[in-house]
Symmetry: C2
Subunit: 163 residues, 2 copies
DNA sequence: CTCTTTGCAAATCTTTTGCATGCTT
DNA sequence: AAGCATGCAAAAGATTTGCAAAGAG
């Protein structure tokens, strides 16, 4: 039982995330601003893994006065508010993705050739990890797993230039 | 079939790694230098996961004239030569660890309480990962997997302060 | 001798911060 | 109004690179 999908879905979760973020702001006495809404929308409409610069570029298309520093500050807040998670794949730039919403957990397979990222979820792996941890005397709480692989057929490989 | 061990082994692999590195250099027409030997020794005698600055500090104890740039350049060469692997845990600094030597592959389980790292190897997980990749149309080449867990019994938990 | 290395400093790159000004509440 | 936010530019931190001098084969 393995499920997968490539980057780039989008559901009516847009409203949900805006709400979660707004509530987070209210609770801390922070303010809802034009730029924060724009940045969240940009993240929502961008790919699954985005870096600050990409977001900044998107945001500038809508309001060129919004500075890079604000993007960084806002991405950090969204991370604090638990709607985003910060990851470090390659090494240099940080990239952000939406945090798992309830049961939406997934892992990553990264193509060695085009560096495209395929997300997948495999029940067997999840169960086995839990068992392994248990056998070592622990209770599994979370994990991070990335598979690095070569394309078996070119159809899968987009040869995208993500950088 | 799961095997495990705690951090901190060390075999007479020192000589082996020096040899591997030297051969790598020879093959590319590069030179064996005093600083390169010193840097490799520093990595060998440091902990399991080291960053450039840590190595630089160690190296300076032996020869204070060795510059940080040389350390970076050398770590990169050691990564190219396959004796080291570069990892990005926290985010900012890169950290290096020795690459798996032949069959020594392992994954990490990190204790949420004491942050001790237990290394393990599980055949089932390895096989399943291969299968998952294959089903997604890829050929698995390597992976990175970290399990984060709570101690089930205190005996396992060393409450070590590994920084 | 020739070509690689090195150390130093300057350059990059990404991310953070200080500050005066502009906006939400 | 009062206090958070923003934009800009400068600062920081990690890693890289240019260059002339030093070293390995």
């Amino acid at each position: 039982m393995t499920t997968s999908r490539r980057s780039g879905d989008s559901l009516p979760k847009r409203a949900h995330l805006h709400k979660v973020f707004d509530e987070y702001l209210s609770q801390l006495g922070l303010r809802q601003t034009r730029q924060r809404k724009i940045i969240l929308d940009a993240v929502l409409s961008s790919g699954r893994h985005v870096d600050a610069e990409t977001i900044s570029n998107e945001v500038k298309k809508i309001d060129s006065s919004i500075g890079l520093a604000t993007v960084y500050r806002t991405l950090k807040m969204m991370t604090d508010s638990q709607i985003l998670v910060e990851r470090h794949f390659g090494g240099d730039r940080a990239s952000f993705e939406f945090a798992d919403q309830g049961d939406e957990h997934h892992d990553h397979l990264i193509c060695n050739q085009c560096h495209d990222i395929v997300e997948f979820y495999d029940e067997e792996l999840e169960k086995r990890q839990e068992l392994v941890a248990k056998n070592l005397g622990f209770v599994l709480k979370s994990h991070k797993m990335e598979l690095f692989a070569d394309c078996a057929n070119s159809e899968n490989c987009k040869r995208k230039n993500l950088k």
